[in-house]
Symmetry: C2
Subunit: 212 residues, 2 copies
């Protein structure tokens, strides 16, 4: 493998994860990870293109960015690639009207989406909203469709909060897949289309990218 | 294949499912399926051994049998093979102390089981008790074990109630399997051990059995 100096020579853009890279989420807005505020500032002063790429799907980009700004980060909504807006684009393109099994914090991202008479399900890290009633509603919507469409914002198994490990969307996606005998379409990391959309936003090719 | 007369000639025992065979569950205790009360009575008057074998895990055997008796069935608790008592036997044999992710209606079956300081999880058709909080509790118990043990009472995908399709235990079992990267041990149908225990109870071999 080429030495770092040589490898970095071809780098034109940097993709930064947010949770666990820039800050640790938790009560009271979380805490910035040591050195990360300054690191983002330095990257933005450099010749490199910077894009933030997250699987966060409990919050809207507006809320997330507000939180990060309060922690001192130089970041705007337009610089963030997140699953909810990527899903909205798919919904619009394919004329899909979702039943939303999502956290209330991210609901505003779907303001422009028609959710009447659902013909698909969008599932995200819904936290406490993963009640039996809501899961069963989603299940019944899928079972009434001739060709059930399940869109999952990420497929993470769990994440860490200050209070301990928390189930992420992945296990609930698997539950609906098994119940209905279907495969979900994953929007968010590690989907190649998701990374591609982040790269397109900064006009950088995959081989010119450093991902953190 | 041999004609029915010849095939039935070797039959010594009959295994009867309960839900969907004897009665349809639903509000107000459900309703007996036409002809089934008399069919059970006739089987019991015959030379055949009769055993009831169910995956019901929202109710204790006492409650289930009480319900069936009120519908006119000749049935006692001792004639029923059900997942909860089978799981209790495994728990005792292996010194396991479960976190119980179960319906309140079946909790009495576990009265004699030590549930302090859990070293495994037992999951059953918990209905409304499949809250995010309860699922996360079960998940955290499993993740703290060196060798996580998950015992699932059945693995059904869903069942039908008068109000519509309802998610069964299987999808939630799959959720915990995926979250923890493990495989559950299924107690109940279609586990061969479960059928075997039902056969042993009436002293009948598998080839002498008719299953309904």
């Amino acid at each position: 493998m080429a030495p770092w100096g040589k490898r970095l020579a071809g780098v034109r853009g940097v993709l930064l994860d947010i949770s666990g890279v820039l800050y640790d989420s938790g009560a009271g807005g979380g805490t910035a990870i040591a050195g990360s505020v300054e690191a983002v500032a330095r990257l933005k002063r450099s010749r490199l293109k910077v894009r933030f790429c997250t699987n966060e799907s409990q919050k809207s980009r507006a809320e997330l960015v507000g939180q990060l700004q309060r922690l001192g980060f130089d970041i705007s909504e337009q610089e963030v690639t997140a699953p909810a807006p990527a899903a909205c684009q798919i919904l619009k393109e394919q004329g899909l009207r979702p039943y939303l099994l999502i956290h209330d914090g991210v609901r505003s991202e779907f303001d422009q989406i028609d959710t009447s008479n659902p013909n698909c399900v969008v599932i995200a890290d819904a936290g406490e909203s993963f009640s039996y009633q809501n899961m069963n509603n989603a299940f019944q919507v899928l079972m009434e469709l001739e060709k059930p469409v399940l869109i999952s914002l990420g497929k993470g198994r769990y994440y860490k909060e200050t209070s301990g490990l928390m189930l992420d969307v992945g296990p609930y996606m698997k539950a609906l897949e098994y119940a209905c005998g279907i495969k979900a379409e994953v929007v968010g990391k590690p989907s190649p289309e998701f990374f591609k959309s982040a790269l397109q936003a900064i006009g950088v090719e995959a081989h010119q990218l450093l991902s953190v």
